[in-house]
Symmetry: C2
Subunit: 190 residues, 2 copies
């Protein structure tokens, strides 16, 4: 693992700053990759070499926010962090994750829908899945892997976008409803 070259590092920062500016001004979907490259003063090849595709660019921009949540899960206070019972941690996760997705909806949407299956391939998703699996397993939930995936499918940006924008649901209600559903899933079936 060698250190990142100076020009590469500079261009990476330029691209992220340019993308942030353009996305803020005109929305994620309304900005082309050519425009990002131009705004960053960089060639298109550079963009793609580093970020893979438009979804990868979104992932990079989300990185910081996601790290914060991951940190809170790993060594923050309960109920999100360690120490609380699994059910409480699970509902805390649902609430915190929904909050994150709702505030970064366009970016998450782009990161998850840039290509079919993109959602399931991000590094962040592997983390959320691992965490949910662990909590369900800890609560002796049967089929914990499957149910973790099921819960996360319901938290997908596409679905959240639909609830929030098409059905005009309120984030608070959504959080409550999904937390309750998560509790139903974590329970052993009688």
């Amino acid at each position: 693992m060698v250190r990142e070259r100076a020009d590469a590092a500079r261009n990476r920062l330029r691209v992220l700053a340019a993308a942030e500016r353009l996305f803020a001004r005109r929305g994620v979907a309304g900005v082309t990759m050519d425009e990002v490259a131009a705004e960053a003063g960089v060639g298109k090849g550079t963009l793609y070499r580093r970020f893979g595709d438009k979804g990868g660019l979104a992932v990079a921009l989300l990185d910081e926010r996601e790290r914060e949540l991951q940190q809170g899960i790993l060594d923050g206070g309960p109920p999100l962090g360690p120490g609380a019972p699994p059910a409480a941690r699970l509902t805390a996760f649902v609430a915190a994750y929904l909050e994150l997705v709702a505030t970064q909806l366009d970016l998450v949407l782009m990161s998850e829908t840039s290509s079919p299956g993109a959602r399931l391939r991000t590094g962040a998703h592997a983390f959320w899945r691992q965490h949910c699996r662990y909590l369900l397993r800890d609560a002796n939930t049967p089929e914990s892997e499957l149910r973790a995936d099921l819960l996360l499918a319901g938290l997908a940006a596409e679905q959240v976008h639909h609830w929030l924008h098409d059905e005009h649901r309120d984030l608070t209600d959504l959080t409550h409803g999904l937390s309750t559903a998560a509790l139903a899933l974590i329970q052993r079936h009688p």
Copy 2:
């Protein structure tokens, strides 16, 4: 509502037949709309006028299979059709729907991922949602609308594809696991 023009009807059938041939031979993702148009002996504009986009073409090809399942739900025998208790009907639906998705995976995938949110906008999806909502409501499940969407999110082609292809899960196990999860969701939370 006027009757479909003769040339339009002829071209519709030609396009569907051509698409079916090409998709069978080279996979849904490996066929371009130009090729479908050429194989059907029809212009590209005709394709798009009638089917909207590649996802719409997939929807049209799925139509018959979906109608069969819808028929079975509306007036087939129990447990899928009316007569059985809601929980039994729900697990029967999960099994039947998974079966349908698994056997037409590429087509369903195309119909659901051709554009972001496409899955939630198809007519068929409205039917499945309505049915699940009805069953959950009938069983006095709280937040029945939300939970119906959650269940269907887990049955999305993208997710099923991942379970089946990336994780090499067996369809039978998947059916069993998701049926059990559906039962957890239909239950009133203690």
